[in-house]
């Protein structure tokens, strides 16, 4: 086994860890607009620019729509582009998110997950990024600041892989991760540079009859993202779906290669199974909640409960087969959604997990927990009650209330 590289321990809040990762990732262009709880990321990055610590072109744009337009444009010329946003900022980017994935621009963006208005709320939940789940972006969700740092570095490798060429958003829970100081192990600059490497480009045939690298270059003009109507649009969308499918393998490969230089890995990169072997009652969640959940699972195990946790690190592409096999033999599953799909019969993670269990050999009971909206704290006691409910469901062989609200005043 390759020896793990020398690392530096730093005290960083999630946002600072992301900014530091972007700095080390040798980013050419950062175009961003400040919004809580993401502000520190670009604030910190602009300090690097002002201090001359990076050679990045920093573009102060007038809105998030422009932030994504500029990031996309930079990326299409072959530059490595990074940006960050949250909540309303991500919502304002909506249109450009689709243009970015459609142009196959490997932009990396940190999303400090925050609730959407109204009423206005600056705290953490997943309503912002879940609303963009069909935008053609890969979505990773970090459990802690360490993973946020590691994921940004990995995201460039994933996005720029020639079998993928899709933008990646890395979610970190607003305030819980973005503003909380943690000990973060950081790689040395050289190690990161070597790990990510320089951008490669597939070859494309242009209208001039030349086969050239796929990037805007005055020497080899080409048209990217033009009009495609009834006869071709569908084919381009199918290509994007193929890239998403390819990303499943690439994310796993990048996760294991990163483990070799850092000593850290996050499950198989797609999902992390915690005490799942022989588990009968399992909760599924994304992001920082998994940290609390692990201590709850440990306590339950001490009490003899066969409890387990499945943390979805990659939500897009959805690792269907991996979730199916991780849940094989499980009797009851609680799917946790830090987001509400109004009128949609449960949250988005619930929809997808229950849907993929339709083909399972023996279907477990599935119950949905909507929790933590607008930054509402979720205590270990509340999380423990989820497993108690799952045990009751197994006992009574019946899911009385498939959709539940955790920590809500009834």
């Amino acid at each position: 086994m390759q020896s793990v590289a020398k690392q530096k321990m730093m005290a960083l809040a999630g946002d600072e860890a992301v900014a530091y990762a972007a700095k080390q990732s040798d980013v050419d262009v950062v175009a961003a607009y400040p919004i809580t709880p993401q502000t520190i990321i670009v604030e910190k990055f602009s300090e690097y620019v002002a201090n001359g610590e990076v050679e990045t072109e920093f573009v102060c744009v007038e809105s998030e729509h422009s932030a994504m337009a500029a990031s996309l444009s930079a990326s299409v010329t072959g530059a490595r582009a990074f940006t960050a946003t949250a909540s309303a900022g991500l919502a304002l980017m909506h249109e450009m998110l689709f243009v970015t994935s459609g142009c196959r621009a490997p932009v990396v963006m940190a999303v400090a997950n925050r609730a959407l208005s109204a009423p206005i709320n600056i705290h953490g939940d997943h309503s912002d990024s879940m609303a963009q789940r069909d935008s053609g972006w890969i979505q990773l969700y970090a459990e802690n600041a360490q993973e946020a740092y590691d994921s940004i570095i990995q995201a460039f490798r994933i996005a720029e892989n020639l079998d993928v060429l899709l933008p990646v958003m890395v979610g970190l829970d607003g305030f819980t991760l973005s503003h909380t100081l943690e000990n973060v192990e950081t790689l040395l600059d050289e190690g990161v540079k070597e790990f990510i490497g320089t951008r490669q480009f597939p070859k494309v045939l242009t209208h001039e009859g030349k086969t050239v690298p796929f990037r805007l270059d005055p020497a080899n003009p080409m048209t990217v993202g033009p009009l495609a109507l009834q006869n071709y649009y569908f084919e381009f969308k199918r290509q994007q779906e193929e890239a998403m499918e390819n990303a499943l393998a690439v994310i796993q490969q990048v996760n294991s290669e990163y483990a070799k230089i850092s000593g850290r890995s996050y499950g198989n990169g797609l999902l992390e199974a915690y005490r799942l072997e022989d588990a009968e009652v399992v909760a599924i969640c994304l992001g920082s909640t998994a940290g609390t959940m692990k201590t709850v699972v440990d306590a339950l195990r001490q009490d003899g409960v066969k409890a387990g946790l499945l943390r979805l690190r990659t939500f897009r592409p959805l690792p269907v087969e991996e979730i199916q096999s991780a849940l094989a033999g499980v009797k009851a599953v609680a799917v946790m959604d830090r987001c509400l799909s109004f009128g949609g019969n449960g949250g988005p993670v619930f929809h997808e997990v229950r849907h993929l269990l339709y083909e399972a050999a023996s279907r477990p009971y599935v119950v949905n927990y909507i929790y933590g909206l607008g930054g509402r704290d979720t205590s270990p006691t509340e999380l423990r009650s989820i497993y108690e409910n799952l045990q009751r469901i197994i006992q009574t062989q019946r899911v009385e209330k498939p959709i539940q609200y955790l920590g809500l005043r009834d």
Binding site: N231, F234, R238
Partner: protein, 94 residues
């Protein structure tokens, strides 16, 4: 759709065009076509500047202009701009 159209596996990503737009003759969209009165035309070239499709060319060696009906969509801007009313819009024949 025709059998000559390619599958999703054969085309470049992101809509990169392997053909120039000059190969797509868009002039057949038009209902009206500009016709020039050579007596009235002063070769001021305003129509050349205003044509949104670059379908009116100036040929310096001839000292004259010509419409390229393969790309003219019959918008009538040239007729509207012409200071001597040398251009009239006539119904295009099939």
């Amino acid at each position: 759709m025709t059998s000559q159209e390619k599958t999703w596996k054969e085309i470049a990503p992101a809509g990169v065009c392997s053909k120039s737009s000059s190969e797509f003759l868009t002039g057949d969209w038009k209902t009206y076509m500009p016709v020039r009165d050579l007596e009235k035309c002063t070769r001021c070239l305003l129509c050349v500047l205003f044509c949104p499709d670059g379908a009116i060319r100036w040929y310096p060696e001839k000292g004259d202009i010509a419409f390229d009906y393969s790309f003219c969509k019959g918008c009538g801007i040239c007729a509207n701009q012409c200071p001597t009313n040398a251009i009239t819009m006539k119904l295009a024949q099939e």
